[in-house]
């Protein structure tokens, strides 16, 4: 931006007498920026720093709400605080009860997976961020939150709220991040029906209350009320997080695919705070891209290793020195 000012110091007096060259200059700059931005590369860093120019807008946008909440906290009565504490205590008790059961289930699960110990927790770190502005129109469904690179937010990070999956981080600035919601028409999330494990893809409908499942055959086993959870494919979201509930299915016998609609569980329109989460890459439910390299070592590694070694041994002996006296069992099977 500074170069723009420097280039035209003498123009300020006769600004409107020659708009043509000025327009040509700015048009060229814009086109160059667009081409560079589309290609990616170093302009991403430039964009990251330019992003801080938007900080005044975000601060101003957020100030009424922070003022209201500050005043609200200032004048909150003793009784309402007591009531809140009581409510939180009962909730904490309920949660700790279900947590007990969850731990038992985790151990059972680990035994079923033939692992020696329970897995570490899937979520290693979480960060609550406040929603600064939201854009909910048919073309774009995005949120801006007040956490950015300063808080180690990264591109493609999964975002949740208390009820379900919200979306992922699509752009990170120094102190802000843009979140693309699951309902954005440019967003698709790999899902699975919780009832029968049927996999599909849920695409945003551009409407904050709706997801579409356009790739399910007419005869697939879907019912209204089915819960959709993330399938863990695609390398962004971990497996098993609730996404949406199927609300309606239209089966036209002429068409090849059913038209399935679902309602997202996360309250996209009303969220004031969202949760950005970091996952343990070694956990089996973590996003599959990272898992691909680690899964064999964790689960399949132990049982298959002896077999593999044995096979390697026999292969080696076969090739190098066929000794009938040394290897009675496997070789007699192989040679005929």
């Amino acid at each position: 931006m500074a170069t723009v000012f420097r280039r035209t110091p003498s123009d300020t007096s006769s600004r409107d007498s020659a708009p043509g060259p000025r327009f040509a200059f700015f048009a060229l700059v814009s086109v160059a920026l667009m081409v560079l931005d589309q290609r990616g590369g170093w302009i991403d860093d430039a964009r990251f720093y330019l992003q801080s120019a938007t900080q005044p807008f975000l601060v101003v946008m957020n100030s009424p709400r922070s003022a209201v909440s500050w005043f609200g906290e200032l004048f909150e009565t003793r009784e309402s605080l007591r009531a809140e504490i009581a409510g939180l205590r009962t909730r904490e008790r309920e949660l700790s009860l279900s947590q007990l059961r969850l731990e038992a289930l985790e151990h059972e699960n680990a035994q079923l997976r033939a692992l020696k110990a329970a897995m570490p927790p899937l979520v290693t770190r979480q960060q609550v961020a406040e929603v600064v502005s939201l854009e909910l129109n048919p073309l774009r469904q995005r949120l801006l939150v007040n956490k950015g690179r300063q808080d180690d937010i990264f591109d493609g990070q999964a975002v949740l709220d208390a009820r379900g999956l919200l979306g992922q981080v699509s752009r990170v600035g120094p102190w802000s991040a843009e979140i693309i919601l699951v309902t954005d028409p440019e967003h698709a999330v790999p899902v699975q029906l919780a009832r029968n494990g049927l996999r599909s893809i849920a695409v945003g409908a551009g409407n904050s209350g709706e997801l579409l499942l356009p790739y399910l055959p007419v005869n697939s086993d879907v019912k209204a009320g089915d819960l959709l959870v993330t399938s863990g494919l695609g390398g962004v979201y971990p497996a098993g997080y609730p996404v949406a509930v199927v609300t309606g299915i239209k089966r036209d016998p002429v068409m090849l695919l059913a038209q399935v609609r679902a309602r997202p569980l996360a309250t996209l329109e009303r969220d004031r705070e969202v949760m950005l989460v970091w996952f343990d890459a070694s956990h089996p439910a973590a996003p599959v891209e990272k898992k691909a390299t680690e899964l064999p070592q964790v689960t399949l590694g132990a049982p298959t290793e002896p077999d593999a070694e044995a096979a390697a041994d026999t292969a080696a002996t076969d090739n190098a020195a066929p000794d009938p006296a040394r290897t009675p069992g496997p070789d007699t099977k192989d040679t005929p």
Partner: protein
């Protein structure tokens, strides 16, 4: 125009554009957000028509760049569209100023449609989905809002 006056009117230009950018960010319910008028473009059109000295293409370019950063669109997309609209408005400001407000509104509609058409073309070129006719609605609400913009900014511009 004295230096002090031109400086204050430049301040007014940047101030009103800042407010328009803020209003662009204010969340609206769904049916209203579809109709949300392109206030930034309207404000810039006003300044480049009525006061092309203090407005000008630099304002259009910079605010377009800010829109790109705020909305996360391709860097330079809105900057190019707004520079083009500003350029046309500055070019034709003597003709536009003399027209009655209704005809001005029609010219503004053409300008806004051009602006949206350029963004539509760039969206298509950079691989975004285009199959939504709702994107053209704000041009019409914007043109309908032109008399209000002229009224409010005219009051600020030349109080009497």
């Amino acid at each position: 125009m004295s230096l002090r006056k031109s400086r204050s009117s430049a301040l007014l230009v940047y101030g009103t554009v800042f407010v328009a950018l803020l209003l662009m960010l204010v969340p609206l319910p769904r049916f209203l957000s579809v109709l949300r008028p392109p206030l930034v473009a309207l404000v810039i059109l006003y300044w480049s028509t009525m006061s092309p000295r203090s407005g000008g293409i630099l304002v259009g370019f910079l605010s377009g760049l800010l829109i790109d950063l705020l909305q996360g669109s391709l860097l330079g997309e809105h900057a190019l569209a707004l520079s083009l609209v500003t350029y046309l408005a500055v070019r034709m400001h003597l003709m536009t100023r003399a027209k009655p407000i209704f005809e001005q509104g029609l010219l503004v509609l053409i300008g806004l449609l051009l602006h949206e058409g350029l963004i539509w073309a760039i969206d298509g070129w950079s691989g975004h989905p285009l199959n939504n006719w709702l994107r053209w609605l704000p041009c019409f609400t914007g043109a309908a809002l032109w008399p209000v913009v002229v009224g409010v900014l005219g009051r600020l511009h030349a109080p009497r």
